[in-house]
Assembly symmetry: D2
Homo-oligomer: 361 residues x 4
Amino acid sequence: MGGSIFGRNLKVSTWGESHGKAVGAVVDGIPAGLKLCEADIQAYLDRRKPGQSRFTTARSESDTVQILSGVFEGVTTGTPISLMVANKDQRSRDYSNIKDVLRPGHADRTFLAKYGIRDYRGGGRSSGRETIGRVAAGAIAAKMLNELGITVSAYTRSIGPHEITHVDFDEMNNKLYMPDEKTAAEAAIYLEEAMKEGDSVGGVVECIIKNAPAGLGDPVFDKLDASLAYAMLSIGAVKGFEIGEGFKAALMKGSENNDAFCKGEEGIQKRTNHSGGVLGGMSDGSDIVFRAAFKPTPSISIQQDTVTTGGEDTQIVIAGRHDPVIVPRAVVVVETMAALVVADAVLSNASCQMEYLKCMN
Amino acid sequence: MGGSIFGRNLKVSTWGESHGKAVGAVVDGIPAGLKLCEADIQAYLDRRKPGQSRFTTARSESDTVQILSGVFEGVTTGTPISLMVANKDQRSRDYSNIKDVLRPGHADRTFLAKYGIRDYRGGGRSSGRETIGRVAAGAIAAKMLNELGITVSAYTRSIGPHEITHVDFDEMNNKLYMPDEKTAAEAAIYLEEAMKEGDSVGGVVECIIKNAPAGLGDPVFDKLDASLAYAMLSIGAVKGFEIGEGFKAALMKGSENNDAFCKGEEGIQKRTNHSGGVLGGMSDGSDIVFRAAFKPTPSISIQQDTVTTGGEDTQIVIAGRHDPVIVPRAVVVVETMAALVVADAVLSNASCQMEYLKCMN
Amino acid sequence: MGGSIFGRNLKVSTWGESHGKAVGAVVDGIPAGLKLCEADIQAYLDRRKPGQSRFTTARSESDTVQILSGVFEGVTTGTPISLMVANKDQRSRDYSNIKDVLRPGHADRTFLAKYGIRDYRGGGRSSGRETIGRVAAGAIAAKMLNELGITVSAYTRSIGPHEITHVDFDEMNNKLYMPDEKTAAEAAIYLEEAMKEGDSVGGVVECIIKNAPAGLGDPVFDKLDASLAYAMLSIGAVKGFEIGEGFKAALMKGSENNDAFCKGEEGIQKRTNHSGGVLGGMSDGSDIVFRAAFKPTPSISIQQDTVTTGGEDTQIVIAGRHDPVIVPRAVVVVETMAALVVADAVLSNASCQMEYLKCMN
Amino acid sequence: MGGSIFGRNLKVSTWGESHGKAVGAVVDGIPAGLKLCEADIQAYLDRRKPGQSRFTTARSESDTVQILSGVFEGVTTGTPISLMVANKDQRSRDYSNIKDVLRPGHADRTFLAKYGIRDYRGGGRSSGRETIGRVAAGAIAAKMLNELGITVSAYTRSIGPHEITHVDFDEMNNKLYMPDEKTAAEAAIYLEEAMKEGDSVGGVVECIIKNAPAGLGDPVFDKLDASLAYAMLSIGAVKGFEIGEGFKAALMKGSENNDAFCKGEEGIQKRTNHSGGVLGGMSDGSDIVFRAAFKPTPSISIQQDTVTTGGEDTQIVIAGRHDPVIVPRAVVVVETMAALVVADAVLSNASCQMEYLKCMN
């Protein structure tokens, strides 16, 4: 079982390696009747494109998406949407230093253990380029959600120890995608220093989903937060997930952590949102707020101890075009993966009450 | 889509409500040829049983499991294993105070929003009793893993602010399942105080998986850590998941967080285990170590503001038999859910190399 | 992968062996808000119960169903519905003659080859009793469809060479479930003769689905007819499936086989129904009509050549309580499996147009 | 739920419409270590290519496949294999006569009913070109099976009333892919006559799978024959499926239809093969033999009554490049779909016994 298909009612099959001919995704399950064009998707891909700033790899890719199927006269037809982005800048460089050496923090050793073979060119299937298929597919999910009034917005919450003190999307016009100008400036300095040392840093991405109706997600295994956690940890470099108070909830008393319900203008509301918008695995009508922790990029230019593929001790220095921090480019990956989860939950809910089935006639 | 089926090659369908006739699970995909009897499963169920100490609900249930199918002459046959536990202590008490009121921190409001109907007796499908099916199924997975030399062990890492300073399984003979006697004693005092106030507390469960071969899990969506995160967040009350350094990794430099490979006696090893045993979504041969954060039990006897099902403001005091902390009984749930994830990954791997397919003849 | 779960949005996990403690099914995905009680299901089970006539096995089973979960105050809640039927008449007879011998036409040899082990008591998992779970689950699907105005009706089309000449449900009050009294009488005589010889016979079941809206089923793999074919061939003893003209269509010209569309009173209609109600994998608004061919029961009392489990030549005479024809009892199995397929297609369709998603608010 | 993904452990996502930019498939689950190049796949695609003879559409397409991912240095890596074939000959002809009219026997009416929108250019997703993805994916499955010694071979059994009298693959060098020269010649004359009348004909494809080990397929829903039936009926124009004696089994007695087991040189054998190589849903070690019935091509140049999309009566004459019989080009579609089913069953079996799991170390 390959494990490259995501979702239940909305299924995304991604494919492609860093140095193959192209990368892409097939999206099966988008309802008919959604207006969609390549620009809708390109806007998202541009946010993860390399070469946006000095904090991202210099690999030169336009990452132009093509819709190959499933859209007719500007509207989805209900059939699979095939998306493709060509790999252009596949430098014919010498991989011999990587070919026979296992890079620390990367999947080299585990690919070899699992499959007995690995595509060593640029990380192969574990390359960050794999996320292109996710972002392209998730952009469609986000469009679908927007039509239903639901928005998904991610941003950088912290870079190393520099954590934002507030969220103001008007302040997000910086290359770190931090909605707090002052912290963004401090984080940039921190990052510059790490780069000088040939080192890399990590950070946290936060995501807010607004206007999701109460009741999305299932009460047992396919809880909305379980699906979000799965989606987030499926992103390379993510090491942690939390929703609402997250790990802090473990330190709280029930009387502090419970959100009181109250009568609001538009029905039932909560006075607080410690839950992060999910109760019992289902959205509770409040904003859904979660965080994903990213480890520092494993590719660093400092010399590291490691072994050859044959198991002998050696050292490695990783040169080349690498992001000193993955977080800013990962923001749109978090956002689109979240959109896929929520869109899937919306599709599932369409058949959860007998009443809804009568809408089809 | 119901969302009550867990797993890919190893599928578990759980069923049952707190106050229905029984709860249970159907386990499909366990290989033929595994020795199995009810005592194997009962040992795990006894660890989650209510009434073990003054820190757990006084509901009286023997929680005796029956194997209804799939085992013949003490061995699994490869067909579905149906497991059932009768609900015995369903007190015919008056639910009228809960029936029309939405309990803060519970799934009452979200069930109603999703389905337009809710089984208000004892939390219905969101009851902790739903985990009986998980534990029973996961006990079989654990047995299967043990046959292959893999062990899964969970324990309480913290109760409120009281976190263990070391892990010594010889010190785990306490009702909080903490492998550190001293911290366990402090946590017990903390818990007593919360109980006196009618309040509840949270905590963190940690789990270690030993002897898993390198290469379990898939490199893209179905990463081993993504599946573990999904499994953990699918447990009611879990608000966060992290593997290896987890959220701390976001504060580290690449040079600190990367684990150097080295030549070991039995092949390739890592000098450190910041990764928590997973690289690129696949097990890396080191111990797999992850944590799940549990919120405080939402049922507290302190008066809370809330609304009626009709949306009018009211107050509620939740009396009755409730756990002041869910963590100790959740330890075995974490352990068995992890066993299901790892067993599923083992089954998936059986077909991931052409070489393995030749084993069948 | 166990292969005992049926369906996509509506998932049925069946479990149980002939001589285990019970058989049953878990049904996940039935929408909330469907009125349901045990009598709804029992009516279907009674149609497949043994001992209805001299043409069915004399095994004595009341086959009383219990609903263990998922229904509250007479209405489905949207959570899994667990259904169980106890095995009562498990005669403690001597299986030694079957234990070490492979019965021709049965799954004894294939179970052993696949799993290396087999439950030889009464066919184990391959017993006709496995269909109890299907019928119980399908009865719920049928109830759901009825609420939407869709009906599914199966009947015996032929027993051996005796094929009905017309379909009149008023004439179906016979133990062969043939809607043609005269043919039923002839078939009964034919069957008596086969029984005297210790032999068995086969037949064909036909099924008509009325009032299905156009558009059920998917245009590529999950075609409605493909799903029906899968469902039918998944019933033990079925060797063929056809829809509409079926195999006869291979002999027709396009000009004969195409159904002309015309303007009808309630919209677009077809002048003929050679298609059997499905075009391009989707229901076309006409009656859906298909057939399943059943082989003769493999258990016969005539002596047969075979081998021992060790592979040595031997003979076998199968005594005991066996149906000389499986068709009459299979009618309700065909009907309920078809109901599951159609109900699943209805649930899938609830999310196939953007318009439908707006029904949820 | 889109319904364009086939398989369980071996998953194929096909995409593409007749007049889109391309068609293709993503194949997830092929084990690592299989030698594979584009020529392996092209050989199969060439068998379904248009323009092979006067009996096939004159649409000019080279149908050249590109492998975009999943293969490295000539060997599969275990990651998804993306396959693409560009659509070249998309004549910019006038579709106005088809745009507003529903063609009898086609999916025009059902697409519109389901999705509220249809891509009317050349059948859109229901075009025969959709099978390119199936054939390309199935070619890989066939290669995998060949490595394990299993072969899958399909051929035309009948065209209209002309049915082969024997199977001799040396006689299959004809454009109808009939392994019987004499019948092929007669069928060609029959076909010419139908073409002169502007009409079309149907036929039957048969498929033989050799050397499959006993035990493939699951005993309940995912029976090998159920999966084959699903695969066959998922091919457009297929109206019937039968295995072994098929519908004839319904006319036989148990004593005739049962296959006696006997001691053979290589273990247990069957004296006859009425079962068609499957017992109880699992392969029984004999050749697996099944048939699929194809209706006549619905596109005919004879005038037909129909309606407009608005529901008004009208007539249609379908001009253009259409196959007067689909059967010869469908032979390779049957063969490759069968290969996908069998390969999937092989992958599933890799985890069905505890013994097999030990092969991984």
